[in-house]
């Protein structure tokens, strides 16, 4: 008979990752059978700076049965339909990577093939005009479509959120504590391991309190207090492909219309994010200090804000890469402790959530199985690896050569697998993305075509209909999008009517 030998779970670190883990464990595993303790110290700041997410966050919130509008209100959140990439192809260019589908898949192939044929025959509309999220975003409009009246003839509007990560952690903390998670305040000064197995047995706090556990979740951030500093799991360094290694972040006053999207503007030695929240705008310059100094990057950032700064800028350091083992012995790393990928495609919180989902799927009952741990580590590696390739592509296909940074990324060697993907895309107008990868055909197409990396051919199935039929189909799709767009409220109005926080600034 199996017995539950793993009863006491200790989460080390209380940032976004820590409290997301605590919330999920308390909801799914429950605190009747498990003791869940989260150790955090008020002395240690968290990294979260106004986070942008991707639609997968919905699954997480759904599992937690979180009320969406309450969550939006509590975290000063706004809605996000995608990312606008400015100056990536070249200076002055811009494209949008939307969530959701472009057009409608037809006859078994994606819309993009039909669009390419139509374009080849003289069609004049950009593919982004066939995507409702892009159209709504650029008109500053937003609505949810789950309660849309009439028959569901169009796909739903896909969205995610921008929120204040600090408030999100606080919200989940309340949620977790209500469900029985014990918060233990204190700075960890010592990690005790079993002298023979090396398993972690407890963490000792500055106060002398010792917190024992069967299973330790390392959410301690970049440093990886348990996974790296204690267990020496090792790190894959990817900074030769993704050279940015610093971010300077600063919030500023809201300015202009409330945008329902993140903006990522390529700069001289990296890129700058702009994340609109209800009460302020989050900004940051992600750069590589080999190409620009911290001081210069900071002053560039400060000079490019569209509202008055609301705090002192702060600099974060990181090395892009992934932990060689996210799970080692009785310690599993989640969040920045497991690896770091720049937030260009807003994947940080997603990776936290993916790790949590895998943790729940593979949660051990009576001991730690090496095969299971290997499987977990392999899967985590794939997650990081796929996203890494997608991020590299953004840089590699640039036409920019105006600074040393851009000359470097444009000319750097890239992973073989990415090269194969790009070659396939060039030849066929599709990636043939494996099912388990996060970024699907639509994302690749939006980014590659958006940056001018156009395919040379399209799928022969798109040739199977007549010119008139093709134009009519495309017109109807375009019409459905415009018709829906015409009925959509402004993003700011939608929030004001449904989920405004007390701090919402947009009058």
């Amino acid at each position: 008979m199996n017995k539950n030998t793993i009863r006491k779970v200790v989460i080390v670190g209380g940032g976004t990752a820590g409290w997301m883990t605590a919330a999920a464990l308390s909801k799914v595993m429950g605190c009747q059978n498990y003791d869940i303790t989260l150790v955090e110290s008020d002395q240690i700041g968290t990294v979260g700076v106004g986070e942008a997410t991707i639609p997968m966050i919905m699954f997480f919130n759904k599992v937690l049965e979180i009320n969406e509008f309450e969550f939006v209100r509590e975290t000063n959140a706004t809605f996000k339909l995608g990312i606008e990439f400015v100056n990536w192809k070249n200076i002055g260019s811009s494209y949008f990577h939307p969530f959701g589908l472009m057009g409608v898949d037809m006859d078994g192939v994606t819309f993009s093939h039909f669009w390419q044929r139509w374009k080849n025959e003289g069609g004049n509309l950009d593919f982004s005009k066939f995507n409702i999220e892009t159209e709504a975003a650029l008109s500053c409009k937003f609505m949810k479509t789950d309660h849309e009246r009439g028959p569901a003839i169009l796909p739903p509007i896909n969205y995610a959120y921008h929120f204040d990560a600090g408030l999100y952690a606080a919200y989940l903390k309340k949620y977790s504590e209500k469900r029985g998670v014990i918060r233990q305040e204190g700075k960890i000064t010592q990690v005790k391991q079993n002298p023979t197995t090396g398993y972690i047995e407890s963490v000792v706090l500055e106060s002398g309190v010792e917190v024992k556990g069967d299973f330790f979740i390392d959410c301690s951030g970049f440093r990886g207090l348990l996974i790296e500093e204690t267990l020496k799991a090792g790190y894959h360094d990817w900074s030769h492909w993704l050279p940015v290694n610093r971010a300077v972040a600063v919030p500023c006053e809201s300015a202009g219309e409330l945008l329902p999207y993140t903006r990522a503007t390529a700069q001289e030695a990296g890129w700058q994010w702009r994340i609109p929240l209800q009460h302020r705008t989050g900004n940051g310059y992600v750069f590589c200090n080999n190409f620009i100094s911290e001081d210069e990057a900071t002053s560039k950032l400060m000079s490019r804000l569209d509202g008055a700064p609301r705090a002192e800028p702060r600099v974060l350091k990181f090395v892009t890469g992934a932990r060689k083992k996210c799970w080692d012995k009785n310690c599993l790393a989640i969040g920045l402790a497991s690896g770091f990928l720049e937030p260009l495609e807003s994947t940080s919180i997603h990776l936290v959530q993916v790790t949590i989902a895998k943790l729940l799927t593979m949660f051990p009952r009576d001991g730690f199985n090496e095969l299971l741990i290997k499987r977990f580590n392999d899967e985590m590696h794939w997650e990081y690896d796929d996203i890494k390739d997608f991020l590299i592509a953004h840089y590699k296909i640039t036409e920019r050569e105006d600074t040393e940074f851009w000359r470097y990324v444009k000319n750097m060697p890239i992973p073989d697998r990415l090269q194969e993907k790009l070659d396939t895309f060039r030849a066929r107008g599709e990636m043939m993305v494996p099912l388990n990868e996060l970024f699907k055909e639509n994302s690749w197409f939006s980014v590659l075509a958006g940056q001018g990396f156009m395919p040379e051919a399209y799928h022969p199935v798109a040739d199977s209909i007549s010119d008139d039929e093709l134009r009519l189909r495309l017109t109807k799709i375009r019409s459905g999008i415009q018709n829906r767009l015409n009925s959509m409220p402004k993003h700011a109005d939608f929030i004001r009517d449904n989920c405004a926080s007390a701090m919402m600034k947009h009058a």
């Binding site: 004049n124 509309l125 005009k129 495309l474 017109t475 375009r478 019409s479 999008i481 415009q482």
Partner: protein
């Protein structure tokens, strides 16, 4: 008899170019041994001028071999699936008139009778609720049917164009097709017993021809010189003596119809174009100053008007547009305000008639008689159609409109109105330009009705009639929802 060997078209702008191009095409198509020359007069077109034309105008384009979409794109044009008439029965009133029929006949009795009966018993739906074209226009759709050969709709569209671009496009095509032309002025029109013997041009040279076409516009340079070619004023029936054309920004979402709104001293038309909106004010200088009118119109339609250009206008008609060897076409023959897409209509009708009557010999008295008779009837029927809107208005207390309502109308129009009032029947006359469904929509829209409905309508029980109505409405709604937005259609095709 002498064979007709040489035709000279004296003209400008749309009238001139279209006439010359059409003749060029006809001569080429039939390999006629006729020499054609186009003497092009300086343009009269103002900034912002536009053409609003009926669906039948596409036949003219067909004659010219012009591709609809290319022409629309090059001339900033747009489709309109109907015209909405606002405030013609007091401010706030409104109805949509499409280029389509309303309802279907049951037991060979026109749908109108059933609808009137239902309306009399309290049905609140307007007549055009049963009209696919009107429903599509209101929903901003481009009419395309899911199944080929829709059961009862033949909805189609009129067009609007930017005048200058439209003319330039046609001129370019005409020149490319080999049209012989030169830009000049007419110094003198020399006459003989045969009509015009020669034209003295501004450089002093003389031009002769067997047939002269006067497409010189309102000026009517040639026909005005001929004794029996005099013009007859229609200004007493049509009080509008000023046209003001202005521009406004593009409308979003793009409407699929024009709006014609009556106001104190005239009417204002709003015409969506590909890249902007054109505003046309037709008013009477006796009922207000231009500046006041502009201000009032701008406020009432809620749009800022740019570059207003005012021109004088007088409705008129030439009872003998073909005199001896001279034929007046377009504005040289007839001028009517563009209330119902009537820009270029006189030209189109004249060209169609001429194409069927192109003389073989220099003696063409027989052709002239047929042409004149037909053109008179046709233009009178168009006049009656526009006049009906004035006559049937219900804007009480506005001097402009009170006078329009009080006027005595021609017998032909009086007969049409009386017949409809007494029996719900649309009179059909020889050479009618507007078809019965147009007249019906106009009458019903203008709140004309009859109490003498067809006795056969009672054969259908009320509940059965209601269920037939419901079916129609459902069909229309479903069909329209499947149509693409005009905005999308034009984006994709123009």
């Amino acid at each position: 008899m002498n064979a007709l060997k040489r035709i000279v078209v004296v003209g400008r702008d749309a009238d001139g170019w279209i006439t010359a191009f059409m003749l060029q095409k006809t001569i080429a198509a039939h390999k006629l041994d006729i020499e054609l020359e186009f003497l092009e007069l300086p343009s009269d077109v103002n900034d912002g001028d536009f053409f609003s034309v009926q669906p039948s105008h596409r036949l003219l384009h067909d004659m010219l071999g012009a591709k609809e979409q290319t022409l629309l794109r090059l001339s900033g044009g747009m489709y309109s699936f109907g015209q909405r008439y606002n405030n013609w029965f007091g401010n706030g009133s409104s109805y949509m008139q499409s280029f389509d029929r309303s309802g279907v006949d049951f037991n060979q009795v026109p749908f109108y009778h059933y609808w009137q009966k239902a309306a009399n018993s309290g049905l609140k739906l307007p007549f055009e609720a049963f009209n696919v074209g009107a429903a599509a226009a209101l929903a901003g759709r481009y009419v395309v049917f899911e199944q080929v050969g829709s059961t009862f709709s033949h909805a189609s569209s009129g067009y609007q164009f930017e005048a200058r671009a439209y003319i330039a496009t046609i001129a370019k095509a005409a020149i490319a097709a080999g049209l012989k032309h030169r830009a000049t002025g007419i110094h003198q029109v020399k006459q003989s017993d045969l009509g015009i013997s020669a034209l003295v041009l501004s450089d002093g040279s003389e031009v002769t021809a067997d047939l002269f076409i006067d497409a010189s516009g309102y000026e009517a340079l040639l026909i005005n010189q001929l004794a029996s070619g005099a013009v007859e004023s229609w200004a007493s029936a049509f009080p509008v003596d000023r046209l003001i054309v202005a521009s406004a920004p593009k409308l979003t979402p793009l409407p699929a119809f024009n709006q014609i709104s009556a106001f104190k001293a005239g009417w204002v038309g709003i015409y969506p174009l590909l890249n902007k909106t054109t505003i046309n004010i037709a008013c009477s200088s006796k009922h207000g100053k231009t500046s006041d009118v502009l201000e009032r119109v701008s406020a009432s339609i809620g749009m800022k008007l740019f570059n207003p250009v005012e021109t004088l206008f007088a409705a008129n008609h030439r009872p003998n547009p073909w005199v001896k060897n001279c034929i007046a076409l377009g504005s040289a023959a007839t001028n009517l305000e563009p209330l119902d897409g009537t820009h270029l209509l006189s030209l189109h009708l004249g060209l169609s008639a001429l194409r069927g009557l192109l003389p073989q010999y220099t003696d063409c008295a027989a052709e002239a008689a047929i042409f004149n008779r037909s053109m008179n009837k046709q233009m009178e029927s168009v006049r009656d159609y526009l006049l009906a809107r004035y006559k049937l208005n219900k804007r009480f207390g506005d001097a402009f409109w009170d006078a329009a309502r009080a006027q005595t109308v021609p017998d032909t129009l009086a007969y049409r109105i009386d017949l409809f009032k007494s029996r719900g029947v649309i009179a059909q006359m020889e050479d009618d330009v507007f078809i019965p469904e147009d007249w019906l929509a106009l009458f019903v829209g203008n709140q004309l009705s009859t109490s003498n409905l067809d006795a056969l309508i009672d054969k259908i029980p009320d509940d059965e009639l209601m269920s037939k109505f419901q079916q129609l409405l459902t069909y229309i709604k479903t069909e329209v929802e499947k149509m693409p937005l005009l905005q999308s259609y034009t984006e994709m095709t123009l």
